[in-house]
Structure formats: C-alpha cells, structure tokens
Amino acid sequence: MDRIRRAFERRHGRAALIPFLNAGDPSFEASLSLFRNVLRAGADIIEIGTPYSDPLADGPVIQNSALRSLQAGFQLPHSFAIARALRQEGDHAQVLFTYVNPLLQYTPERFFRDAADAGVDGVIVPDLPLEESGAVREVADAHGIALIPLMAPTSGEARIQAIAESARGFIYCVSSLGVTGERAQMSNRVQSLVATARRYSPLPVAVGFGVSTAAQAREIAGYADGVIVGSAFIRRIEQCLVNAPMELSTLSQCVYDFAQELAVAMQQATRPETMEIRNGEGNQR
C-alpha cells in the first residue's frame, strides 16, 4: 500500500500515469515485456489485468485481449507470476485487476496471500460494489493490500461518501457510462465526480474508462491525481499483432512509444495550485 502512496507523492502534485494491460496477452513472456516497457517509459503505477471469460465491464478491445490470453493458456497464478517478476526488478507500484469470480474461486485468503507474496500493492474488482465488498476488504487489509474502489457518474453523493470512507490506496473514477473502451469525448460529469470524491477522502483520485489520446490524458491530468489508460494500449497491441504477429520488439516499441507520449502530455497539464497542496496533504495519510 505504501508504494501506491509513494507513487503519487513522487509526482509532486502532477498526475500519475496508470497503464492497464492484460496478463498473458498475447503470451506470458510478451506481456511481461510489455509491462517492463510501460514502466521504462514512465508509468507510475501499472494495472495488471486478469483475463476472464465473461468480462461484464469491458468493451470489445479488452474482451478480445482476454480471449487471446486465455487461448494462449492463461491461468490466474500467471498474474501473480508477472507481478513477482516485475517486483524483483523495482519498487514501482502495481495493482491487480480481476473480476470477482476468479478471486472467490481461488478464495480471498489465498488470493491476497499470493498477491502480497508477489509484491502486489492493490486490487481492483469491477463487479464488487460497496455492498458486497466488506468480507473481501477485511482479507485484503489483513495482507496489507489496498482494495481500490470504483465510483461512477451515476453514484449519488451518499454512495460517494460511503465508498470514499472505505477506500484504500486510491479512488478509481469511471469517466463515463458504459464499458471500457476508447471514447472520442470525455464526459464532463467526471470532473465533478472527482471533486465530490475529494470532499470525502484524502486519497488520490484517478480517472479511467475511455481515455484514448494524449490530449485527453493531459486534460484529465489537470484535475485528477491519476490517469488510467487500457483499451488504447491494447488496440495498439492488436494492430501490431495484425501487422507483425508475435514480433516482440515491435510490440514493445509501440507500447513504449505510446506510454511515453502519454507521460509527456500529462507532464504538460496545468493544475490549479490549490489542488497540488491539497493533494500533498492527502498523501500524508
């Protein structure tokens, strides 16, 4: 959990870049290399996706990515193996993304123990809303892992407060209605969602779902503490796979280039001074 806090602190009030990639897509080795490349290009936190047969919160790009990974033989322990390998190489922050069923089948006790052993700092479960999360959070806490909650534009103020009060690590604001996937325009409702979340929690607030361009990332970096980008990375991977199947160096390069482009753009974001101070305070917790 400490590594998540430090990842945001190191940004000194600028937003953190949080790329999402699916473990095992297109293969275990290739995805390990892709995570290394986004870290090298300036990612502050990485989100390791656990492919699932029925990813309800995901659009077609991440669905297809999960399918490629599962067809290449992915199994849940591979997520831990990737986290463990990356942890041996650095003290970056890393979080796992998984749907609730694989977590329940593995059992929360074993899941969080293995995650902690592998050097995972946080876990995001998109189909585990506040009402269902109590027992899972207890186990996560016991293993020092942050159960990172999601908030949506449809979450009313009372829900936002309740979610914020039980949040760990950071708060994940869903930018717009719908599943993951690139969107030409970001909903302006997310900015007020971020503001409301801040009223109830000192934790960093990141925005994800739909971020597709460096310009959008820069814009979000103007008001949020973190920008999560998934489908836009995976679409680039997909294109590379079509053009040069399994050519790892090409894949790595295109992922590296896009991560760097995002990192540079976010560096240029202008943020109100007050936000920076407030953010610094929050991270004292």
């Binding site: 309800l56 809303p129 999601l150 009313g156």
Partner: protein, 409 residues
C-alpha cells in the same frame, strides 16, 4: 406469508448465501431505485389492477390445468396434470413477467426497454409488451441461438424490436445476457432492462419470481377445485428457472408437496456437454449473483450445452441454489434424448407439442409416474409450446423420417 423461506431474499438480496449484487458501480444506483420503485408499485392497488387486467384479458389467464388422461393411462401410475402456460399469449410463461416489468417501465417513465433471450420466447414476450405499451425495444440474442430459433427472430422483428446478435463467447444466452448488461451500463439512465429469468443482480430474481408466482397460485387453486387437495409432486424445467420458481414459490409453505426441477443434462453429465449447474457446478458469480455455476478450477465460466436454447445456460437462479442447498427442492438431470422422447410422447398421446425446454419436465414425469400409485398427483409446468422447435426437430429427423420413439406410444 409468515414462513421463513418465503420471505427471502433479505435486504442484501440474499437467498441464504446466494444472490447479491455483483455488478459494476455504474448500475448500483439504478438497482436501488428499481427496488424502491418495485416495492412501492407492487403495493399500489392501481398497478396491481392494471397488471391483472392485462394478464386476464390480454394473455388469457388463468391458464388451464389439464388432466393428461391418455398419458397417465399409458404410463400406468401417477395421474399427471399439465399447467398449460403454453396457452398464454406468445406461447410461454414469459409474458407473465414481461407484462409486469413492462408496466414497471411505463410507471417509472422509461421509454425504452432491452432484454436478453435464449430460445427467443422472452425476446418475443418483451417485444410484444413493447408494442402493447408503445416502448422501444432492443433484444440481445446469441448468434448461435438466432440460427436455432429463426422463427422467433422474425417474430421479434415483426413486432418492431431490434434484434442484436451477441457474437462473443459461446454465442448463446450467457453471452446475450453479458451484452444486455453491457448495453444497460451505457444507457442505464433512460433504459429499463427486462431480465427474463430469476437470475441477475438483486432485485431481479425477486421481481421475476413475484411476477411468475401466478403459475403456482393458480395451480393451487385449480387443484383444490378439481381434486380437493394439493398435488404430491410439482415438476418444472430449469435453465435460469423462472417457470420453475413461479410454480414452486407458492408451494414452499406446503412442505407435503415435492418440488422437482429438471436441469438440462445435454448429451449426458459424463460428457461435459450439458447445462446442469446444480449437478455439476459449484457456487460462483454470474450475471451479478452468486449461484451454482459451471466453471473451471480458476473460475472461468465453461460453456453449457442443451438441445433447448432456453436451458442452455451455465448458471441458475440464486433462489433455486438455495432451495437445493436447503433440501426443499430436488434438481435432477434430463438429457437431450430424454427430452426429445418426451416431446414425441406428449405430442402423440395428448396432441400437445411442448417446447423442448418444457419437454425436459415432461420427461421427468414420464420417468417417475410408472413407479407411483394412481393416488399420486403430479403437476408438470408446461412452460411453453413447441412450435418454435418444429424446424429444429424436423432437421434432426432428417426431413420427415420418424424420430426415436422408445416408449412405443
């Protein structure tokens, strides 16, 4: 309704350990709102009057309780009654629920509904109430099921609904439901999602059960009138399990009545090609609720198989999971072949073509009846008519050849 079982689910939407609301945060406010709207409207005499009106004058309720005399004679044991849900408007029990949820949509100011469908019966029932109430309607249907149930696809389109093929995963009911939920996440603010079975996140399993309980309520009344007592056994097929839940629920407070759900055993439980979530699954989360689920060691959902598209589903309603664990209901497997035999048998002894789904329930009655005495009363929920399956059966019979007919009827 003081019985403890009948007051489930609890405020978290739990039937024992099963049920709940495992959905993206974006949907949570809508689910809370739906629950509040439902609880308010269901107590509203005006809403109830309107629903009763449509059930009676539009769908043709009450549906008959028919004594299948020739079938009973042939089997030479228990007397078998059929609850004729196939005689509802649109040919299945599904309309009980879509009329209820369609009115919920209207009364909560929604102009548009979406639905998932397997065999197409729920899709047709949804498209029908959309036409009736002047709502826009989009139905998600697995590409594979669209092929198996071409006639129902055409019916939905005639009724003015848009039918969207689900092309992910196994291209059947599971994936159609995924697509419907994904669509709902995006359009949750102006769209009502009409779930077709006792599945999905709370409050849907409760709402669908409540709208389907009319099946069991009528059955009890009709048995009391005809036989002066309750049946000994009630049998219904279970995919998600809405006709079974509708039949079983009013019987929960009558422990003398044995409740049997038939799961689709497909090509056989040993083959892996089946849809028997209770026999072969273990508790897991699908479509927002914790229930018995066909899955691998690491929780990836495994494909289901059944000859009937409506039972081709790797999960089951959470209340059924609870009735199984508590021992109140028994769930038994019925194979594709057994269901087909039952289809032929019922067709030729009684002149009734059952839906392939309902044929799974008929098959269980055929298995049991000879071992029982004439005093034993069985009621089978004949949930739908078989017209939609005629093409599929014709192609299986190889264009006019006689099908298997081992019962010799």
């Amino acid at each position: 309704m003081t019985n403890e079982t009948t007051t489930y689910p609890d405020s978290f939407g739990r039937f024992g350990p099963f049920g709940g609301r495992y959905v993206p945060e974006t949907l949570m406010s809508a689910l809370h709102q739906l629950e509040a709207d439902y609880r308010r409207l269901t107590r509203d005499p005006g809403f109830q009057r309107e629903l009763q009106h449509y059930l009676r004058t539009y769908s043709g309720r009450p549906t008959p309780l028919y004594f299948a005399e020739r079938l009973s004679e042939k089997l030479g044991g228990a007397r078998i009654y059929l609850k004729r849900e196939d005689l509802n408007h649109t040919g299945a029990h599904k309309i009980n629920n879509t009329l209820g949820q369609g009115l919920l949509a209207v009364h909560t100011g929604k102009k548009r509904i979406i639905a998932e469908t397997g065999a197409g019966q729920h899709g047709v029932a949804s498209a029908t109430v959309a036409a009736l109430f002047g709502l826009e309607c989009t139905v998600f249907m697995g590409e594979e099921d669209m092929r198996r149930q071409e006639l129902n696809v055409f019916r939905m389109r005639l009724l003015g609904a848009e039918v969207v093929p689900a092309t992910s995963g196994t291209r059947t009911l599971k994936d159609a439901t995924n697509e419907a939920i994904r669509h709902w996440v995006e359009h949750v603010e102006d769209t009502y999602y009409v779930i077709g079975s006792v599945v999905g996140p709370h409050p849907y399993p409760m709402i669908v059960r409540d709208f389907q309980r009319v099946i069991g309520d009528e059955t009890i009344q009709q048995f009391l009138e005809r036989e002066g007592r309750l049946p000994d056994t009630a049998i219904a097929c279970v995919g998600g399990g809405s006709n079974a839940m509708g039949m079983f629920y009013p019987f929960l407070e009558h422990p003398s009545v044995q409740l049997i759900g038939t799961e689709a055993a497909g090509r056989g439980l040993h083959t892996g090609e089946h849809a028997a979530s209770i026999a072969k699954g273990r508790p897991g989360v699908l479509h927002g609720s914790l229930t018995y689920l066909l899955q691998d060691e690491f929780g990836q959902v495994t494909p289901a198989h059944s000859i009937s598209a409506g039972l081709d589903y790797p999960g089951i309603g959470p209340e059924h999971a609870w009735l199984h664990d508590s021992g109140r209901a028994n769930y038994v497997p019925v194979t594709d072949e057994e269901a087909l035999d039952a289809f032929y048998t019922l067709t030729r002894t009684e002149g009734i073509l059952p839906a392939l789904e309902s044929a799974h329930a008929v098959a269980q009655a055929i298995k049991m009846a000879p071992e029982l005495s004439r005093d034993h009363l069985i009621v089978v929920c004949l949930s739908g008519r078989g017209d939609k399956d005629v093409d599929q059966i014709a192609s299986r019979m190889g264009g006019g050849q006689h099908g298997p007919n081992p019962t010799g009827v």
